[in-house]
């Protein structure tokens, strides 16, 4: 199993391998990061703020004099797990609904599509702002809200894919065999839309990372003293004029994480097409 995965990875184009490496790196950080973080995430360790990298604080200190490296590691954990979880949840739910709508067709499809249209036309940031304000911002709620915000977008894409596939002969074959809707959805249709769905998930992942940072800009988001990567950028933004490591490192972290994820998914897609 592992060997076959490794050989698959080796078969990826260079950009895909770079992407995979970045994703794996951040996954490892997310899972094992807390073990290697030099300081507790909320500890005030430096008298100075926005100090540059030193041997004691590898990435300097933040706007309150906390260790940037430790906060970055924890931030990566939140961002990766939260955004990934929300992206998976959004794509899973959106796609399930889309499959249901596409296979049932008719009025069911019309009603669901109209509802999704309604949700998609409400600006997502403001909508999630309302939801966070209404329900609070514990981790699980944040994940649910971020997922909920991006379900309609995924639905749109998944439904378009599914409607195409539902018209394919192999689905007719399954129908003629007497297969139920669930078999058709999960066995016949879904496997054929995995790649575009993955690509969509990659994009939604990026959007959710941005949404979380946008929420933190508006004063919501992950609860302190923890912070996701976007919030780290946000809370240290006053260090930007001096080019503080406290703002540059989380910004770079977001970029490598999201670009990595998408390079990897792009590469998978390219392989699947050929």
């Amino acid at each position: 199993m592992i060997r076959s995965l490794a050989s698959r990875a080796a078969a990826l184009p260079l950009s895909g391998r770079i992407g995979l490496a970045l994703v794996l790196f951040w996954l490892v950080i997310a899972v094992f990061g807390p073990l290697i973080a030099p300081y507790p995430v909320g500890r005030f360790v430096d008298e100075e703020v926005f100090s540059p990298a030193t041997s004691q604080f590898w990435l300097g200190s933040d706007y309150l004099g906390r260790d940037v490296l430790s906060r970055l590691i924890w931030g990566a954990r939140y961002t990766v797990l939260l955004a990934l979880g929300a992206a998976v949840l959004a794509v899973f739910t959106g796609t399930s609904i889309a499959l249901f709508a596409a296979i049932r067709g008719g009025v069911v499809d019309e009603v669901i599509s109209r509802t999704m249209d309604t949700l998609i036309s409400i600006p997502s940031k403001i909508f999630s702002l309302v939801l966070v304000a209404a329900f609070g911002s514990s981790l699980s709620l944040l994940m649910l809200i971020a997922a909920f915000t991006y379900i309609p977008g995924n639905y749109r894409i998944a439904r378009a894919l599914a409607v195409n596939l539902v018209g394919m002969d192999f689905v007719s074959v399954a129908r003629a065999r007497g297969e139920g809707a669930i078999h058709i959805a999960w066995r016949e249709v879904l496997p054929n839309m995995i790649h575009p769905l993955m690509a969509d998930m990659g994009l939604r992942f990026v959007f959710i990372v941005l949404l979380l940072s946008g929420l933190s800009f508006l004063g919501l988001g992950v609860q302190p003293p923890h912070a996701d990567l976007g919030s780290l950028v946000r809370e240290n933004i006053s260090g930007l004029p001096q080019g503080a490591s406290a703002i540059l490192s989380p910004a770079i972290a977001i970029a490598t994480l999201t670009v990595g994820a998408n390079l990897f998914i792009d590469a998978l897609k390219g392989k699947g097409d050929s």
């Binding site: 005030f44 609070g136 609860q223 302190p224």
Partner: protein, 515 residues
Amino acid sequence: MTVEALPLSRRGFVSGLAGASMLAIGACSGGSGRRAPSTRGAIRVATQLSSTSDTLDPAKGATATDYTRHFMLYNGLTTIEDESLVATPSLALSIDSDDRRNWYFDLRRGIRFHDGSELTSEDVVFSLLRHKDPATGSKVATVAEQFEEVTADGKYGVRLRLTGPNADLLTVLSQSHFLIVQAGKADPDGTGTGPFRLSDFQPGVRTVVLRNAEYWIEGRPKLERVEVIGIPDEVSRVNALLSGDVHIINAISPHSTRRIEAEPSCAIMVSPSSLYSDLIMRQDELPTGNPHFVLAVKNLIDRPLINRAIYRNMSTIANDQPIAPFQKYFNAEIPQRMLDLDKARWHVRQGGLQGVRLPIYATAAANGSVDMASIIQEYGSQVGLNFAVNRVPADGYWSTHWMKHPMTFGDTNPRPTADLIFSLFYDSKADWNESAWKNERFDKLLVEARGATDEGLRAEMYGEMQQLVHDKCGLAIPVFISLIDGYDKRLKGLRPIPLGGLMGYRFAEHVWWED
């Protein structure tokens, strides 16, 4: 007691109660000006809050932006013009009271509103009484409850009878909410007697005012045009100042002061104030009602750290009671409480509080509370108290969270007198008795101090009340927060007034522009 209007003169601002050490006027030498304002004496002010709730009604004023706007358009019966915080007559020519309960105001003659009509006692009576009408939605309706009767006495005389004696009435009346509007205008439209006339007003966007050439104080104002806008984002606000797009801003984060000081054409003005964000521990709930809990928390607050990390040493370390060192009646005898983890641990053990789990509600609506909560959470974890910071949105905070959970943060604005702060927030019957503490001795002292005529005795009573709050009240007050403004150095005449930023929101009438 009779208070006479003082001859109008500009006062020096260097000396005074605040003391030079607290007066950190950031100044940098040299530096040529950046972009000049388009018209001579036309400036742009950026404040931190501006929304659709922006109002022209002084009674509804809620933000620094509102106060600034109102002081430009209207005048009060009294005014506070310097750091002494002594209220002096403004629209009133003289004010008399024998018993501090019945007051007589003699108005200045010939003062005209912007529409040309003359100010009369009718306007004053209307302006004072409208606070008692619920439909007005006045922010100071509770304060106005003490106005038992307000009547006109001829065209220029106003009689005011209070429900009880109040030595601080003149200070109360100097607040922006009690500015005088035209009689009959339930929704004031900006027509006042103030130094500027309204030119453009769009809630949440901008207020533009032009110099009132017929202003009743000779030589004021000196600016031709003032535009007030809101830039809610602090970093953007500072950038706007640095790029010359605005000329004075308020509510600067201590972390940004270095940036402004590094820019030769700009400077900062720090106004020490008695503003504080306090951690509320409800006494009517557990475990916060446990006295050991309160003392444990009070002992695990690292005040120097809060001062240093959150406020870049620009705040004043507080001692869990609301009177700041630079205020009248401050009790310097109370020993300063410092971070003492051993003591905190001892209280945790004594109170059987090991392993307590509790959320602390913090919000952007209470200055610095999110970071303070983080600090308290961090130290709490070292003494066996498991706090979780629960940051909630600023909107809805006061109605939904404030005082509604065992641990929330409050945010208390400077009050001009000790009596006001104690009666509004510490009297056991007060609406805003945040921690719901009850101390009979304190309540008794509060009433006695109000009527005491002897200053020494009064000081003694206020001193004891501070001790009581420090020891027993369920509020932890880590620091007094200074208000920091930034300005273009060509703007002259600014000086801090501890009532609030921007010279207690009154700067527009006093400052001038020099290229």
